[in-house]
């Protein structure tokens, strides 16, 4: 498997980012991160990663969703694999685990829930990178 691919983690929770970073680096990915959507977006534009891990609930609400919508309008980010991380479903259009209530609502490729098993996370990332 091709390693040392770049992953950008955008999440406003430093502890969560830290734990995820350890897992990803343990699996030989290069990890960059941002704690808010603004700097996350700048990093995404200036140094586009191979995959984006994006938190739903940031700042004052579901900023991750706005983030995902906005980036899909950029030509160079249109095809970037996005794995969305969520800890709350009911406020974001998700009703029950694994079920997206409005599939067109979220322009992301996959979802994981906090906390996420290392195995699951790595498997999903790998699958998205292979597909990309």
């Amino acid at each position: 498997m091709e390693k040392n691919r770049n992953i950008l983690v955008v999440d406003d929770d430093p502890d969560f980012v830290d734990a995820i970073r350890i897992i990803l680096e343990g699996a030989s990915y290069s990890v960059d991160f941002a704690y808010d959507s603004k700097s996350g977006y700048e990093k995404l534009m200036s140094n586009t990663p191979d995959l984006l891990l994006l938190d739903v609930m940031m700042g004052r609400g579901a900023e991750g969703i706005i983030f995902a919508r906005k980036m899909r309008k950029e030509e160079k980010l249109k095809k970037l694999p996005v794995l969305m991380i969520t800890s709350i479903r009911e406020q974001t259009g998700f009703f029950f685990p694994g079920q997206v209530e409005h599939p067109h609502f979220l322009p992301v490729d996959e979802l994981v829930e906090k906390p996420v098993e290392a195995k699951t996370l790595l498997k999903k990332i790998e699958a998205l990178l292979v597909k990309a």
């Binding site: 009911e90 906390p115 098993e117």
Partner: protein, 364 residues
Amino acid sequence: MSEKKPAVLVIDDDEAIRDSCSQVLQKSGFAVTLSSDGNEGLEKTMAMKPDLVLLDLKMPGIGGMEVLEKMLQLDDQIVVIVITGYPTIESAVEAIKKGAYDFLPKPFTGEELRVVVRRGIERRNLVIESNQLRREKERLEKNFISMVSHQLRSPLANVQQYFEVILQGFAGDMTPKQREILEKQQRNVTELLKLIEDWLSMARIDREVVQKRLQSVSPAELFEGIREALEPMAAKDNVQLKFASLKALPCASAVPELMKEAFSNLIHNAVKYNRPGGEVSVTGRAGDDFVEIEIADTGIGIEEAALPRIFDEFFRPQEAPGEKTGFGLGLAITRKIIDAHSGSIHASSTPGRGTTFTVLLPKA
């Protein structure tokens, strides 16, 4: 109520009644407004929003009954006391059926008036207060849910995430003893997260949302999914899951994920409170308007005294043998889900022999 005087509107075509009411009530500390006919009375009701209205039933023009109905449409918390010219109990009863709070037969003394009006104002204050409390409660519940979602769940999810990092070896080696301790703590946090999840789904099950999302659900398919999920647990406890063929059953009108949750809870309990070598049988029947599902176990049963309380939040009847009990939310969630579907759930039990849950769901 010392700052603001309770406002009373008197609607009566009889000037003598208006004046005497006004005198008596003002002396007793009420702010009184007078009106001589129904239409004017309604206008004043809209303009000044009185706490209480004394309304004569027998007036020329628009009659008292009609005024009463319109008034309650304007303000459903308003307290209306009808004055009946003739002590005809029929018209008083009719007025009360329409929503009047009390009646006052003419002629009445000043003291009678004061007593009835004071009682009416107390009623008004209670109604307002309970509505305020209800609204406050709803607001708190809503805020608390999002507070729980974010503030309580996030740090726990982080703890869990770090456990995962350590236990999967991403932070270096550890001794078997250290691993054992961490695994125990991981289980504790998992339980806590489960409690929060349950509690959230409890608060989230909303009748309106459910009614909007109803679809045709085949019981056979539903239980096939549940069987797959719960078979391993049942096998571990040496409990046999026996599903009758549900293929012939008509579809129920339900939200599939919620139904899965409701019945999984029931079957999970039926396994958990069973005995080794016991069984759980699921059977179904079609009624005229309902699909009936019965889940019977051969478990420890529920004491008669506990039976009415098993659907209460946080109620736990007894310890499951050899296992820590949950938080007592499973059945509460199940009932809430079934209620939101306009269905019903009923339990019967013989201690030592087993429990049977009967669920009725509307046909699709």
